[in-house]
């Protein structure tokens, strides 16, 4: 078993295979931002509390500042840049949580926004989409990320709105 200080990793990021060589101490957040130049993932505290850096690893939301880049070797990572989907005509179709954030004025400075979007997208996709969202569900989905601008009212509103957009049979 060799101990390394640098590794070449293969990661599927937003559906695209990427290979990059990183020092083993590189945080996933830094690898995404600096090595892969996906700066949509933001770093707010680097100790796992604020949630701004939340990304999906194999579909599950995690704090990318609390994961080493080498740990996602062979895995699929989704960042905010991968949330909208291609419309096949050179444009994009926003994810319902993105639509909802815009519609509900759920962002001000936008710095915490990617973390909220990723957490909310995963949370809403995982729930039973035939039912109306409850306030407890909203609190659980929104409750683990810090925002200093909005006071959260409109983020909660956006969560309800997006859940509505994502309800089975209602598109998305």
């Amino acid at each position: 078993m060799s101990v390394s200080t640098e590794r070449t990793i293969s990661v599927t990021v937003n559906g695209v295979s990427r290979e990059t060589t990183v020092p083993v101490r590189r945080l996933l957040s830094d690898a995404l931002r600096h090595d892969l130049q996906l700066t949509g993932t933001h770093v707010g505290c680097e100790h796992g509390v604020c949630g701004a850096c939340t990304v999906l690893v194999d579909g599950t939301p995690v704090r990318s500042c609390l994961v080493l880049a080498v740990q996602v070797d062979g895995k699929a990572v989704t960042t905010v840049e991968g949330l909208a989907r291609d419309d096949g005509r050179g444009g994009e179709v926003l994810h319902p949580v993105q639509e909802a954030f815009r519609e509900c004025h759920a962002l001000q400075c936008g710095f915490c926004t990617p973390g909220f979007l990723m957490t909310m997208a995963a949370g809403l996709e995982a729930r039973d989409r035939t039912t109306d969202i409850t306030e407890d569900e909203v609190d659980e989905i929104v409750g683990g990320n810090l925002c200093r601008c909005t006071g959260y009212a409109n983020i909660k509103k956006a969560c309800r709105h997006a859940a509505g957009l994502m309800k089975d049979g209602d598109g998305a």
Partner: protein, 803 residues
Amino acid sequence: MTTKLMGEPVRRREDLRLITGRGRYTDDIGHGALAAAFVRSPYAHARITGIDVDAALDVDGVVAIYTYEDLVGPMAEPLPVLIPHPQLTAPRTGYPLARDVVQHVGEAVVMVVATDRYVAEDVCDRIAVAYEELPVVVGVDAAREAVHAVHEDVPDNVAARHHQETGDVEAALAASTHTLSFTQYIERSACMPMEGKGVHAVWNRDDSSLRVHTSTQASTSVRAAIAAKLQLSLEKVEVVAPDVGGGFGVKIVHPWPEELLVPMAAIALGQPVHWAEDRREHFISSAHERQQRQEITVGYDDGGRVTALDVRGWHDNGAYTPYGIIVPIVTATQLVGPYAIPVYRVRIDSVYTNTVIVTPYRGAGRPQGCYAMERTMDRIAQDLGLDRAEVRRRNLIGKDEFPYDHHLTFQDGRPVIYDSGDYEGLLDKLIALVGWDRAEERRAEAASRGKQLGIGMAMYVEGTGPGPYEGGHVQVLGSGKVLVSTGLTSQGQGHETAFAQIVAHELGVPIEDVEVTTGDTRRFGYAVGTFASRAAVMSGNAIALAARGVRAKALRIAAEVLEADVDDLEIDEGVVQVKGTPGTAIPLRTVAVLSNPLRYAFDEAARQATQFAGPGDDSKPPVAVGDAPGLEHVDYYSPIRSTFASGAHAAVVEIDPTTWEIEVVDYAVVHDCGNIVNPMIVEGQVHGGVAQGVGGALYERMAYDADGQLQNASFMDFLMPYASEVPDVVIDHQETPSPLNPLGLKGAGEAGVIPGTACIASAIEDAVGRRIAAMPISPTELYDLVRSPDAERVPAATTGVPA
């Protein structure tokens, strides 16, 4: 007819890039730059006796190491005192890198530049700085006792004695039927934007120019400071505030040491250099606010009307005073709020401590002033057995008393003259909104559930939109695009949207055609900055004036082309037309083309303006004397004085008398910021402010120990509220336009935070029947208070019961 835009909840044009990861914040710019990191003082007060960098030189990837010894010229001098004031008799500022003595934990001592931030931190770890510890002063009381001095040459620790009075307060107190005196405290919190500070500097060797991106609220002034400190010609320095991840005041301070040192290194090394402040750095080396001790004496009559008010305060300004005494001045002058105070004296000493500097945080001294005044109102009510709302009502400035002169001098050096307002209207709306008159019923209902319910209110007046000025540039291009720029910066307030609304409205163009740039000195070089709820008032009006200038010019040119009278023309959906004669029209984009007589036809639109394109009047020059080519206009708005917004908040709290947990169950806001450009954005500002108010009242504090170590310098222990801690907020608006500016606007950015501490303290006091004299308050402190035999009991409330 053009869609109505002013006053409408237009969706934000900033959002698309920010929700798709295409925003560009300072740390997103310039991959591959060298990274800076800092060795910061671990001691609150110490003399540097040696710096040994030998071990650091071996680290693979180290590029440069700088200490004070490496600073030359103006860089070796203290940082500027940004806002001098005659009463600031002992201003002190630090150096970009500490010289000799460090005055707080976190002060920068050594700058390291390396290939990346990881390596830069490795280098920092290997630099050994030797210190000789000096006595530490922490807290406003230790500062005023002055057993030890923060600055050797300021033995009493007093930076400034701020003093204003409107009459003989001692005589007025002596003549008052009732007087009472009390002392209270308010603790430190901080802006704590989600994005820390950041600087990215690129030196272009070829033309000796410097481009700096910085996460600032004042790019034009950062530019001037960099030019002065690095001895560069102003035109060789450009400063851009890109997307900024929140500011709330901390980024108005400048130049931060890093804003000078990073460009200095970029020039010296001939390579781009980057610094992204991490969260720990932000806690220990940016800025805090709020700590004050307040001793208040008030005189009043049998009806609870204030006859005299005397406030003695001590304001903790931290280790240095780069931002002068703005915060204590704001406290002193905004304390009086919506009330007519016949005789008022305020004396606030601004004192040094060995802690992080204190500079404006959203509210900027107003929360403290509001806390002083509103708790005074509560005490008068309690003393006289009157309803707290009623006592306030009796002291309000009447609707017909505007302009109302407080005979005080505001933070802008101008008189505190309230321009307009309807404070009784606010109070009536608040009482209805929160159900003030049903408080006793609710208290009984909560008691049946084992909870102690309390209600509190607080009112405020906020001087917004201070000068000296802001400017705006509006330009219509031949493509029909309308470019708008202003020098002040944005940190999430939606300026691009609000300013586009203003221009679209003033100019009569589709909002989609308007592009707004803020905070980029390449586009607009004259500005003051984004602070004091001034962006909409200052830049909004400047941009409106600039748009009106463009409109006038467009109408003049179109009138010639259409052979119509200017007064008969209108602009709608980007087309200049004769009113009532839709066929007689010319697109604004064509007017733009014609406004710039050309020799060369570089495209189809330009062809229309070339010299052989049509019959010209060869008796006149192509550009008339006094005119200028192009359909553009620059204008400035410079107010005679600030405009005064106002509001009233109420909080209902429930306390669990077994665990002493405090829950804000209702929060009501009535808000008056004059005419509103975009109510969606204004409500968002209120929501955010309230969350910070709740945070400041119940969760956030800077916990320094006696050695000056900040014990909670992380998001783990500095308790910024999550969604779970923020109550739902109900909002009602009142619109009392300002007569001072063309758009009738008053600022809205800070209001939400101002009354939080005051009204939540009042509500908790109402719930538990014990005097709350220090804020914030946590459950463990409330537990101490309720079982303390010394805690003052508060008479049973008579909320909502008419006197």
